[in-house]
Each structure stands twice: as C-alpha cells, then as structure tokens.
C-alpha cells in the first residue's frame, strides 16, 4: 500500500505514441522516475507507468501506456487508444521523417479515441539544438492547424516533460468540469477513484470472480 492507491480522486489514462526511437519511453521514464534512461531498449508492445499528480487541488493518478513505435506492434498498441483521455504524440526534432509521420499518427488517434481525448504534440530531443531538422514554428503551425497542444521537450534534460503531462491533465480536468467528458462512458479514459461505487464495478466483479477461481 506504499503508493496509497486510494488517495486520489481520478484516474486519467494516457497513451504515448509516435515513431520508433523518438524517445517515448524516455519521456515516460523521465516523468515517472525523474531520471534519464540512456540506451533504452525498444519497447515490446506496451509499457506501463503511473504517477500521482495534482490538478487544481485534486489528486489525479495518471496511468500511462507507452507504446512501441515499431509497426509490427501496431495491432497490440491500438487496443490502448480507446480508453485514453490524453494522447502524447511524440516526434524527434532531429529526424524529419518522424515529423512527417505525424499526420498518420493523428489520423489513427482521431479514429481510435473519442472526440474529447486531449492530444498533445511533443517535439522531443530539444537539447540537440545543433541537429534540429524540424523548426519550432513549423511544428507549432501544424499543432495549431490540428487543434493540438504543443511543446518542445527533452527527456534527457527533463525540460518541459513535466509540463506536457501536467498541461494535458489540466485540459482533461477542464473537460470534466465543462461536462464535455462523460465519466460514465467506458472509453472516456477517466475514472473516479476506485473506491467510489458506481463506475468501475467491472474490476470489482472481476476481483471477486478471480478470488473464487483461485481457490
């Protein structure tokens, strides 16, 4: 019980997507562990991370799916879009190809998530200014055109990493406040805290059922 699973009010589900090698796992690691992970291996399928943050005075648990960039895992990773309240779409500012693929990532995201999903564009590796291949302005324009939040970040130095995750959460929280996000919909990507009755009865049922099975 070290993480204190019940001392938060909401669970927000995030998904991190983008081409292979743009630094998705490093961003997650930087966000959850506040450390840079050098020579991070390729993600197989999906990885998972959590962290409790505070949004407007509310404790929120982020459940973050870090997906594999490799094409062969696309089928596996697609499953995780559906329940995401926030999608962090990552490209590498030193590799234009990763930027060019953004529109296809965006299409996927729009198709697989619901309309209220907050999409945040992150230009990673901004510490490698010398090798920049995509200008800030260009990406910023792309984000604006597609209604995305945008920031350039560095998983290595930690610049803007925290901000990207927190901004997304703020935006989601706003949607809840505005009533744009239906908490009762299975695919909203937001849950009230597990102890609250009503929502999440599925997992409770599963729990009891599994206990029975185990005997």
């Amino acid at each position: 019980m070290s993480t204190g699973p019940y001392n938060y009010s909401y669970i927000f589900k995030y998904i991190i997507i983008g081409d292979m090698g743009v630094g998705k796992s490093c961003l997650l690691h930087q966000f959850t562990e506040k450390k840079f992970m050098a020579d991070c291996p390729h993600t197989i399928g999906v990885e998972f991370g959590t962290r409790i943050i505070e949004v407007s005075g509310q404790k929120v648990k982020l459940q973050i799916w870090d997906t594999a960039g490799q094409e062969r895992f696309r089928a596996v990773t697609r499953s995780y879009y559906r329940g995401a309240a926030g999608a962090l779409m990552v490209y590498d500012i030193t590799r234009r190809s990763t930027y060019n693929h953004l529109s296809s990532w965006l299409t996927d995201t729009r198709n697989l998530t619901n309309s209220s999903t907050v999409i945040f564009l992150i230009g990673n590796k901004c510490d490698l200014e010398g090798q920049r291949d995509v200008t800030y302005e260009e990406a910023s324009k792309f984000a604006e055109e597609n209604g995305l939040l945008f920031v350039e970040a560095s998983a290595k130095t930690g610049d803007n990493v925290e901000e990207a995750f927190l901004e997304t959460a703020k935006k989601i929280y706003q949607s809840i406040q505005d009533g744009r996000l239906d908490l009762n919909a299975a695919e909203s990507g937001v849950q009230h805290k597990p102890s609250q009755p009503g929502r999440n009865n599925l997992s409770n049922d599963q729990q009891t059922n599994r206990d029975n099975c185990a005997c």
Partner: protein, 626 residues
C-alpha cells in the same frame, strides 16, 4: 763492830721469814726438792761440794736446752713472720688491684646502665617500627607474590598475588591516614613505593594474563584470569592489549576450527566434514552458516567470562569490537566458498534458498556480533546473492522465453508462459514467507513479469486483432490470478487490470461490430445516424419488411445468444471477461435498437402500426439479454 739495829732487824726479819715459812707448804720448794732428789742421790761431801756446781751446771744445761729450744721457736716464728709479711704484701697488692678494679667497674656499670636504657628505647622503637612495617610495608612473601620470581619467566600467578595487590591498595589508602596524621613525607614515600609495587605487579600481571588469556575456558585458570582482568581494568592500555592479544589468539583458533569443520569434520569424522556435501548447495551453505552461528556465541561467552569481574564505562564497546575482531578471520574462507557457489550457475529457487539462508543467519549472527568485517562480509554476500538470484531468475525466465512460440489454437497461454507462471508462483510463495518479503516479491515479480509481458506482447502481435485481444486477455488473466494471491502486487495488478480493460474494450468493439454485421444492422445504423429529413419509412433499407427481417434475426439471436458471438469469446479463460464483453457489446446493440425503436415509434417517420414492426420494447430486449 757496831750492829746497826736496823740491819739487825732486816736480818731478823728475813730469818724469821725463813723460819716462819713452812717448807712443806711451799709447792715450789717441794717441786725443787723433788727435782733435786733426782740427781742428788748420794749425800756425800763431794756431792755437797759439788752440789752447787752441779745445780749450776744443771741450770746451765737447762738454759742451754732452753736456748736451743727457744732458738728453734724463734726460727719458726721468723719463718711465720716472713710468711705473714709475704701474705700481707700479697694482700696489699690484691687490695690495690681490687681498688683499681673497683674504680674501673664503676664506669662500666654506668655505661651498662645507659646502654640498657638505650636498649629499652630501641626495643620500643623496634616495636613501633615493626608495627609500622606490618601495616605499611609488604612482607617478603607478598613481594614475591607481587613481582613473581624474576628468574622464572613463567611463574604461575596465584591468588596470593591478588591478595598482595589488594594489600598494596590498602596500604596506599592507609597512607592518607598517615598524611592526616602529619607524616607527610613518610606517607608520600610509602605511597610512591606502593605505586611502584603496584605498577610492577600490574606489569607482571599483564604479562601473565596476556600469555594466558587464551585459556580462559580452562577451568583451572578461569577464576584467576577473571581476577587478573578485573585488576587490569584500571589500566585501560594494558587491558586493551590483553583483549587484543586474546582476540588474535581466538581469531586464529576460530578460523582453524572453521577450516577443520569444513575439511576434516569432527573427531573421527563425526560429524562429517562440511565440504563433503558441497555438491548440495543448500546444505553446504546452511552447514557453514550454522557452524558459524554456533561457534560465535561460544566466543562471546568466553569473552564475557574473561571480563566477568570487570565493569567500567565503555566496556561494552570494547567487547563488541573484540568480538567483531575475533570473527574477522572466518570471513575470508566463508566468503570464498559462498562466492564460488554464487558464481556457478544454479536454479533460481536454489539461489533464493541461499539468499534466505544468508538473510536468516545474518540476522541471527548480527544479534551476537555487531559491526566489523563479519557484518560487512555477510552484507556483501547477501547483496551478491540477491543480485545473483535475480540474475539467475532473469536468466531462467529468458531461457524459457527465448523462443517466441505461436499461441495455441485455443488461445490459452503457451506452456512456456504457464511454466514461467508456475515458477513465479513458487518464488512468490517462498518470498511471501521470507524476511523483507515486500522488496523481494516486488523484485521477483518485476524480474519475471517484464520479460513475460514482453513475450506475450510479442506473441500477440502476430495474431489477428480478435485473437490478439483474447490471447492477451487470457495471459493477463493467468498472470493476474497468479499475482493476486500475494501481497504487494498492487502496482502490477493495476497494470494488468488496465491492460485487461484495454483488451476488453477492443474485444467489445470487435464483438459489437460483428453483432451489427450479423444482424444486418449496419446499414440501418448508418441511415439512423445520417438521416436528417423526410420520413424514415421511405428510405430504402428502412422498409418495415426489412426491419421485420432484422427483428426475426434478433429474436433468433436472443434465443441463442451464443450463436453469433465471436467464436474467440468462448476461448476467454475468465468468465468475467466473457460476460463483460458480451454485456458491453449487447449494450451497444441495445443502444442502436433503442434509437431504432424510438424512430419507428416517431410519427414523423410514418410507420404504420409500429408495434407490429418492432414488437419488443428496448426494456424487453434488455431483459432478454440480461
């Protein structure tokens, strides 16, 4: 002639007197007459004439005789006189001498008297002095006891030494009294002397103790060594040296014993040498640790015996350090052996047993001896064994997962996954009973789960979407079932739960699409969504006949809900998952039906007798499916 009258008178008188005298009365005359009768024998003239001469002659003779006799007498007298005068002389000499002697003796007497008085004084002094010595000085035997025999190096210490030492102390203390009595110089001298004695004695004591301390467990020596240590405690440096010496002895003794136990075993091979069973890692490690765990308390006991009579501040710290120091040498052989075990490949479960053994005995041993190299070694070994254990676990896991098997047709977890889960369950069961189980269990779960989940993803990525979701759900379910039995798995379970949720969503969407397709609901749904104006009944595909057709299919489905379920749904291991997918996909169906029902019953859409077309209300349908 004139006759004087007077003359005539004298003569007359004389004559008278003669005449008057009576001869017979005169004795002398008689005597003289008798004498005369002897030689006058014959009364002759001659004789008468001669008488006179004869008498004269005779008187002469008598006188002559008398003279001779008297001469002799005189001579005798003379000689007597000489003798006497000689004697007198002698006596006079003697008297003189006596006089001299007398005058001389007087001095002597006086001297003697003085001497005698002096003697008395001296005797008194002697008494005082001996009393003083008795009280303030050591006796010869005490000195011997204190300083031992300088000639014999290894003279045995005995209790007299301690008695003497105590006396030294006592005298030292008594000196204070002396000091108070005003005898300061004496007191100080005595004190100094006693201090010297004490130092000397302690030195002897120290040497002896240092060379004998190792035998503290020898019952003959125990008491005396204990006593010696208690004396030495006043001299921290000496005390420490003895303890150091003791440590050095015991250290080498202990390591010797350890090596013996390892290689030679007990007397006549019973118990057998520990290394005989080196092939059985667990037994080997246990035996070694048990031996140490048994030997150290004895060392501790002996050490405490050594200082039993000592009590001063900081003693405990000294003892702790000493014990740690005693245990130093066994570290190396232990370390070498256990590290050797750790470097040879072993099953993760064996390694885990070693880890737990090390932990348990570390705890036991550290209760007895704190700090020092042993603690370091044990910590080090524990860390290493934990690393090795996780290493071998991850190796074992990886070797099981090295080949990416295709999932079986029934989409249950592959045998490799099941095996791995069985291993994981074993590990967690063991870990849940061990020390520090939380970190262990989390580490074990992490080590096994990360590669496991990756492998599952890898396998799943090669399947079509529905199969993938089912396979992932089945695997997640198996893992969840396995982990949910244990504590501290919340983080893992949360992840698995989230993963299940995602797959259930996927599956629901697949199943809902399939339902819609099977019931030919697709076009109807599209029309319902897109329709904006004009009555629905006029739109092709929304004719009552078509709707009735749909309804009959729906009835058929309601009667046999399983018939148009995706076959893969039945392959779900968890009935809960199955129900959830069913329920949620039915919910989708119901939502569409509700929309349709409302549209049909909406007069705007110009359906005749809507109840005959859709005879079931959404509520009816809900009931049918629930």
């Amino acid at each position: 002639m004139v006759v004087d009258p007077e003359k005539e008178h004298v003569l007359s008188k004389r004559l008278n007197k003669i005449l008057e005298s009576r001869v017979e009365n005169d004795q002398d005359t008689i005597e003289a007459l008798r004498e005369l009768s002897t030689f006058y024998t014959e009364n002759t003239l001659q004789a008468r004439r001669n008488l006179r001469s004869q008498i004269e002659k005779r008187s002469l003779d008598i006188n002559e005789n008398f003279l001779t006799a008297f001469k002799q007498v005189k001579e005798s007298f003379d000689s007597v006189y000489n003798d006497v005068s000689e004697m007198n002389k002698c006596i006079q000499d003697m008297t003189h001498r006596l006089q001299n002697a007398k005058s001389q003796t007087k001095q002597l007497l006086q001297k003697t008297k003085t001497l005698q008085e002096e003697k008395e004084k001296i005797l008194m002094k002697q008494k005082v002095t001996s009393a003083f010595l008795q009280t303030f000085q050591l006796k010869q035997d005490e000195i011997v006891a204190l300083h031992a025999d300088k000639n014999k190096r290894e003279s045995p210490l005995n209790f007299d030494t301690f008695k003497a030492l105590e006396r030294v102390q006592e005298i030292h203390n008594n000196c204070k009294l002396l000091m108070q009595a005003g005898l300061q110089t004496l007191a100080l001298d005595t004190m100094e002397q006693m201090t010297l004695h004490q130092e000397g004695a302690l030195e002897v004591l120290y040497r002896w103790t240092q060379s004998h301390c190792r035998n503290v467990d020898n019952p003959d020596l125990t008491n005396i060594i204990m006593k010696a240590m208690s004396k030495l405690q006043d001299r921290p440096v000496l005390f420490k040296y003895v303890i150091d010496e003791y440590c050095i002895c015991r250290r080498s003794f202990l390591v010797g014993e350890f090596i013996n136990a390892l290689t030679r075993g007990g007397p006549s091979g019973n118990p057998a040498p520990i290394e005989m069973r080196a092939h059985d890692t667990q037994i080997y490690v246990t035996d070694m640790l048990v031996w140490i765990n048994k030997a150290i308390p004895i060392e501790k006991q002996n050490l405490h015996l050594l200082v039993k009579l000592c009590d001063f501040e900081g003693l405990n710290e000294i003892l702790t350090n000493a014990l740690a120091s005693i245990c130093e040498d066994i570290c190396q052989p232990l370390k070498i052996r256990i590290e050797k075990i750790l470097t040879t490949p072993h099953q993760a479960s064996t390694m885990y047993a070693v880890v737990n053994m090390l932990r348990y005995y570390k705890k036991c041993i550290l209760k007895i001896v704190k700090g020092g190299q042993l603690e370091e070694t044990l910590n080090d070994l524990q860390d290493k064994s934990e690393q090795k254990f996780l290493g071998s676990l991850s190796e074992q896991v990886n070797s099981l997962l090295v080949r990416v098997e295709a999932p079986p047709r029934d989409l249950t977890p592959t045998s490799a996954i099941s095996n791995l889960l069985a291993i994981l369950r074993d590990m967690l069961s063991t870990a849940s009973m061990s020390e520090g189980r939380e970190t262990d269990m989390v580490k074990i779960a992490n080590t096994a789960l990360e590669p496991l989940l990756r492998a599952v993803n890898e396998q799943a990525s090669r399947l079509p979407p529905t199969d993938m979701a089912v396979y992932l759900l089945n695997c997640t379910y198996s893992i969840y079932t396995c982990l949910s039995l244990y504590e501290f798995m919340e983080d893992r379970l949360e992840r698995l739960q989230a993963q299940s949720d995602a797959q259930i969503d996927t599956l629901t969407s697949e199943q809902a699409s399939s339902l819609v397709a099977n019931l030919n609901l697709g076009p109807i749904y599209t029309i319902l969504q897109d329709h904006t104006q004009g009555p629905l009944s006029g739109i092709p595909g929304m004719e009552p006949s078509n709707l009735r057709n749909f309804l009959s299919k729906l009835d058929h489905f309601a009667a046999q809900p399983d018939s148009i379920l995706l076959p893969q749904i039945n392959l779900l291991l968890s009935s809960m998952h199955k129900k959830a997918v069913q329920k949620r996909s039915f919910d989708v169906l119901l939502a569409i039906y509700k929309q349709l029902y409302e549209a049909v019953h909406n007069p705007v859409n110009l359906y005749e007798d809507p109840n005959s077309i859709l005879d079931k209300t959404p509520e009816d349908l809900t009931q049918m499916f629930s």
